[in-house]
C-alpha cells in the first residue's frame, strides 16, 4: 500500500467540512478577540468569585483565556475532533464500508492510525487558521501584550485538546463500533472535564482539575507563559493511550456487518 492512501483520502473526503469548520472557528475567534477594547471595562463588574474561577482579569491574556480560548473556540475545535473521531472507525463500520477497506491488504492498526492521522492534520489546520486570525486583529484589538509566539503556544494546545478528545472518540468507536456510543461517551467526558477544571478550586479539590484535559490545555496559561511542554506531553500521552486502548480491542473483535 502506498504510505498514506487512507489518510489522504480521509482528508480529501472531508475537505469541505474541514475548510468550512476551520474558517468558521477562526472567524469566531477573530470576532471575539476584537471585542477586547470594549469588554475590558466590563471586567470590573464581574463578581470576584466568578472572575477567579473564569481566570478573568483586565489584561488581554486574561480576557482571551476567559472568552476566546476559554469556551467558544476550544468547543468548536473539540466538536471537530469528536465528529471526525467517531466517524473514523465506528461511522464506516455502521455504513458497511469497513468490510471493503479491511478486505484489502492493510492491517486494522494501519487503518486506525491513518484515520487518526487525518484527524491530527485537521486539528492542526484549524488551530493554525485560528492563530492567523487572531494575529490579524492583534494590533487593532489592542492585544499586543500577548506575543505571536504566546498565541501560537495557546493555539498549539488548542490542537492538542481537539486531538485528545478526538483520540477518545476514535478509541471508543474502534472498541465498540457504534458512532452514537462514541459521541455520548465523549460528550459526558467533555462536560465532566470542563466542570472539573473550572470548579475544582471552588470546591477545594484542586487535584480533580489534574484529571481534566482542559487543565493541561489552558491551566498553564500559554498566553502569558508561552509553550507548556509538560502539559502538552500529558495531552499527547493521553491521546496515545486512548487510541492504543481502542486499537487493542479493535484488533480482537469482529467487524459488525
Amino acid at each position: 500500500m502506498s504510505a498514506a492512501a487512507i489518510l489522504t483520502k480521509t482528508l480529501s473526503d472531508s475537505r469541505r467540512g474541514l475548510i468550512g469548520w476551520s474558517v468558521g472557528t477562526a472567524l469566531v475567534g477573530m470576532v471575539y478577540a476584537s471585542t477586547y477594547p470594549s469588554q475590558r471595562e466590563n471586567v470590573d463588574s464581574i463578581p470576584e468569585a466568578l472572575r477567579q474561577s473564569l481566570n478573568v482579569d483586565g489584561t488581554a491574556a486574561g480576557y482571551l483565556q476567559a472568552s476566546v480560548f476559554g469556551i467558544i473556540v476550544p468547543l468548536l475545535a473539540m466538536i471537530y475532533g469528536v465528529t471526525m473521531g467517531a466517524r473514523a472507525i465506528a461511522g464506516d463500520e455502521e455504513s458497511g464500508q469497513l468490510d471493503l477497506l479491511l478486505a484489502h491488504p492493510i492491517t486494522r492498526t494501519q487503518l486506525v492510525l491513518q484515520r487518526f492521522g487525518a484527524l491530527v492534520a485537521g486539528a492542526l489546520g484549524i488551530s493554525a487558521l485560528v492563530w492567523l486570525a487572531v494575529l490579524a486583529v492583534r494590533g487593532s484589538a489592542e492585544l499586543t501584550s500577548v506575543s505571536p509566539l504566546q498565541f501560537l503556544a495557546q493555539c498549539f494546545n488548542l490542537a492538542l485538546l481537539a486531538i485528545t478528545f478526538g483520540a477518545l472518540a476514535v478509541g471508543v468507536g474502534a472498541a465498540v463500533g457504534r458512532r452514537a456510543v462514541a459521541l455520548v461517551v465523549v460528550a459526558i467526558v467533555g462536560v465532566l472535564s470542563y466542570t472539573a477544571s473550572t470548579f475544582a478550586t471552588q470546591i477545594g479539590a484542586d487535584w480533580i482539575a489534574h484529571l481534566s484535559p482542559f487543565h493541561y490545555y489552558i491551566g498553564g496559561e500559554p498566553l502569558r507563559n508561552g509553550f507548556q511542554w509538560g502539559d502538552a506531553a500529558v495531552l499527547v500521552i493521553a491521546s496515545a493511550i486512548f487510541v492504543a486502548a481502542g486499537l487493542a480491542r479493535f484488533n480482537r473483535r469482529d467487524i459488525n456487518s
Partner: protein, 309 residues
Amino acid sequence: MENVIELRDLTKTYGTRRGLTGLTLDVVQGEVFGFLGPNGAGKSTTIRLLLDLIRPTAGRATVLGLDPRGDGVQLRRRVGYLAGDFVCDGRQNVRAYLRFLAELRGGVPQTRIDALADRLGLDQSTKIKKLSKGNRQKVGLVQAFMHTPELLILDEPSSGLDPLVQQAFLDMVTEAAAGGQTVFMSSHIMSEVEAVADRVGIIRDGSLVALDTVANLRTGAICDVEITFEASVPVSAFEGLPGVGRLHLDEAGTRLTGQISGPPDAFIKALAHFSVTGLRATEPALDEVFHAYYDGAEAAPRTDSTTLA
C-alpha cells in the same frame, strides 16, 4: 490438486445464536465453487471468516495456505472480495475511487480497470454517491477482479445486475477460472451458479447439507415424470413404490404425474401392467434440487437470522 480454501470444523456463534456449526469444506485450485443457501444460512459468515473480518469460535480456516488472522495482509493481497451488500461512498467519481482502492493494493494498471468497467458498462465519470444499486455492484465487481487475484470470493455477486450484465459477469468468472483463478461464490440464485460452477455446496442452518458436482447433484436427485395411459388406471397401483412421490392422477385417470428419486426400476415395472401411450421424464433444474434439500428440513430456515447472512 492444491486446496485454495480449507475449512475444518469451522464454528461461529453470535451470543446464543449459531452462525456456523462445524463446517468442513475444501475448495481446490482453479475451480468455480458455488456456495448455495438461503439468507441466514451462514454464507456471509463463512466468507467474512475467510477474510478475517470476524474470528471463528472454534475450528480452523486456511486460505491459499495462509491463516486469515496471522497472515491477513499477505492473504488479502491475493484475494479479490465482493461483499454481499457492497457499499461505497464518497464525493469522487468512480475512476478516482477505483484508483484509491487500487492504491491500497499497491497499484493496478489503469488499462485493466478501464477494460473491466467497459465490459460491465460502467461509466467511470459518475459520482460514487449518484450510482444506482446495479452500477454500485459493478464497481464492486471491478474492484474484486481488477488485480487478477488468485482467489475471488464473491458474496451474492449478481444481485442488482440486469440480465445482460449478469451474463458479462458470468463470462468473467468462466474466463477467470480458465486462467487458473479460483472462484468461491455464494448465492441464493441457482441459475447463475448452475451456469458456471464446477461444484456446489449447499448450506443450511450453518452446516453443509450437500456437496457435489452440479451434474451429480442433478442425477442423485429427483426427476419429474409424466405418464399418459390408454385407459383409466388406479392410483393405488403406484402408491408406496420406492422412490416415488407426489403422485397425482387427473380426473380421467389417464394422466399421472409425480417425482422419482433414485432408481426408477420399481416404477417402470408397475407401469408395464398398463398400456402406456406417453412418458416424459425431465431432469430437474438445480433450483428444484436445491429446494428439495430445504423442503425436507425439519425446521425451515429461520427468518429472524438474516443478519447472519
